[in-house]
């Protein structure tokens, strides 16, 4: 059994928040997290981890851990900001987990936030996001996130016969779940034809194969196992973590563009620490920044064989009633992707599932849940396993 428990979670709606700042969003997420637990006030926290990918460019604001502490009213023995592109959220959770597990702090607030729509145009937002990409060898030539994942899609389709329809099925399923999630960025159901007919972004990926740019914040409260019952009758325990970073940051350096090699290693580590196997996972939130990513992830996590992800989705195995329901919160594709917040939101969705609080239409009777979050071209990976 684990030493670290989640006792509270909160999130803002994800979307375009033209009437709120980054600190407004963080305040709202933290307020909801505190209110989801019992007997917690802001003064009780002695640890604070902030996950935010790019406030320096998006808000022209550095020193973000100090900056946010002002608005959150937090004083802490241990405080840090973590950043690793899109995996920032899970890096924050793992940092908070280590702070609690080491005994450094008793009650740790982990907050993820990104506010993107302060920039005037979508091409400016894309330019800001391109800051995560290697400047000299990729970004200087116009590279952006869809480019790299499209490279995986082209290669996976060429080697394994994965079809554009398989990718579309991922988007349709996740939108169906998002239609039951009032906090999702997009909630209106879509069809396979909608995805196939949407405009090209980076071929073969189309608009509805891509997650949106979102504003939003999410928060998680971590504590030691022995203290958990002070704050809730139904804590959720972190059963195992696995992280892996591989030195293949430039797209041309990736040894195999048909798989997430780093995820296979991170997953193996997480399963070993949690003493479970892939078949024991009842519900999973994975990093579907693009439809192809979810297919590569269910393969690397061992839910299906390599190359068979498309077929697995087509057979309904990742839907309710299938072998492993995936992205019951709507995924990044529909829930949205405020970069630093995503991994923390994923944990919140598993927290809700394991406490039996997920609404009808996306509820899974689950004892073990998993989140998977990635940064870069899938070369920085984090897996967290949770239990009731």
């Amino acid at each position: 059994m684990s030493d670290v428990a989640i006792v509270g979670a909160g999130t803002t709606k994800y979307g375009k928040h033209l009437d709120k700042s980054a600190t407004d969003l963080a305040q709202l997420a933290v307020k909801e997290a505190i209110e989801s637990a019992e007997n917690i006030s802001i003064d009780d926290f002695d640890g604070f981890v902030l996950s935010s990918q790019n406030p320096e460019i998006l808000q022209k604001q550095g020193n973000s851990v100090n900056h946010f502490s002002e608005f959150l009213g937090i004083k802490a023995k241990f405080a840090t900001r973590v950043e690793g592109a899109c995996v920032s959220g899970s890096m924050g959770l793992i940092t908070g987990y280590m702070a609690v597990k080491s005994g450094l702090v008793d009650l740790c607030l982990v907050v993820g936030v990104e506010k993107c729509y302060e920039l005037p145009s979508s091409s400016d937002i894309m330019a800001a996001f391109s800051y995560v990409i290697d400047r000299d060898w990729e970004a200087a030539f116009g590279s952006n996130a869809p480019m790299g994942f499209a490279m995986f899609a082209t290669r996976h389709m060429s080697i394994y016969g994965t079809k554009e329809e398989h990718l579309a099925m991922v988007a349709v399923k996740n939108r169906k779940f998002a239609s039951k999630n009032p906090k999702a960025h997009f909630q209106k159901p879509i069809t396979i034809e909608d995805v196939l007919n949407s405009r090209p972004i980076s071929k073969p990926l189309k608009l509805l194969d891509c997650c949106p740019v979102s504003d939003g914040a999410s928060a998680i409260i971590l504590t030691r196992r022995e203290l958990a019952k002070n704050y809730t009758d139904t804590p959720v325990y972190i059963k195992g973590i696995g992280q892996f970073l591989i030195n293949e940051n430039v797209i041309s350096s990736i040894s195999d563009l048909t798989e997430f090699t780093a995820l296979k290693i991170a997953a193996r580590e997480a399963y070993k620490r949690a003493k479970i196997e892939p078949k024991d996972v009842d519900v999973a939130e994975v990093h579907d920044c693009f439809t192809i990513a979810e297919i590569l992830e269910i393969e690397a996590l061992g839910f299906c064989n390599k190359g068979e992800g498309g077929k697995f989705v087509e057979e309904g195995e990742t839907d309710l009633g299938g072998k492993i329901p995936v992205n019951t919160g709507g995924g990044l594709l529909s829930r949205g992707h405020p970069i630093g917040a995503t991994g923390i939101c994923q944990a919140g969705i598993i927290f809700e599932q394991l406490r039996g609080e997920a609404p009808k239409g996306r509820a899974v009777d689950a004892e073990i849940g998993l989140t998977q979050n990635l940064g870069g071209w899938g070369t920085s990976q984090a897996v967290i396993i949770y239990s009731r």
């Binding site: 091409s123 400047r135 030539f141 116009g142 060429s158 972004i201």
Partner: protein, 139 residues
């Protein structure tokens, strides 16, 4: 005055210890580094080997032909670029992989395994910085 909301980016071809790579592009040569101790060839070029950590690196010229390993065509690009842009990861005859534009083909004209040749083109970043770079041409 036009304010750039997001500072533009162009390669660092000036303050770098691999300046020889950039200078050679001006002569139509594509170089990278090979470790004299363990023999590892890698791209991007480096001044210390990432395998054995030797600093005894030599410059080698890369083959001028390769095959498409994967590719895409970008239709949405950051400020400062004009879509569509066809780009590919190409595996050269010696196994080194490179990323750049495919200048004479669209997505529909390409498949994995197609043979390409290296060519050179002047790049222009925001009418502010210029430098030649390597590109791919489908044979």
């Amino acid at each position: 005055m036009k304010i750039m909301e997001v500072p533009p980016r162009y390669p660092n071809f000036e303050q770098t210890a691999i300046k020889k790579f950039w200078d050679s592009l001006k002569e139509g040569k594509l170089l990278t580094t090979k470790c004299s101790e363990c023999g590892k060839t890698e791209f991007p070029p480096k001044i210390v080997c990432t395998s054995c950590y030797s600093d005894k690196m030599e410059w080698i010229e890369l083959p001028k032909r390769g095959r498409i390993y994967s590719f895409t065509e970008m239709h949405v690009v950051p400020t400062g670029f004009k879509p569509p842009l066809t780009v590919a990861v190409v595996e050269l005859e010696n196994g080194v992989r490179l990323f750049s534009y495919v200048v004479n083909a669209r997505f529909e004209d390409l498949k994995v395994g197609d043979v390409v040749e290296i060519d050179f083109q002047e790049m222009n970043w925001y009418d502010y910085k210029k430098h030649p770079y390597f590109v791919f041409r489908k044979v």
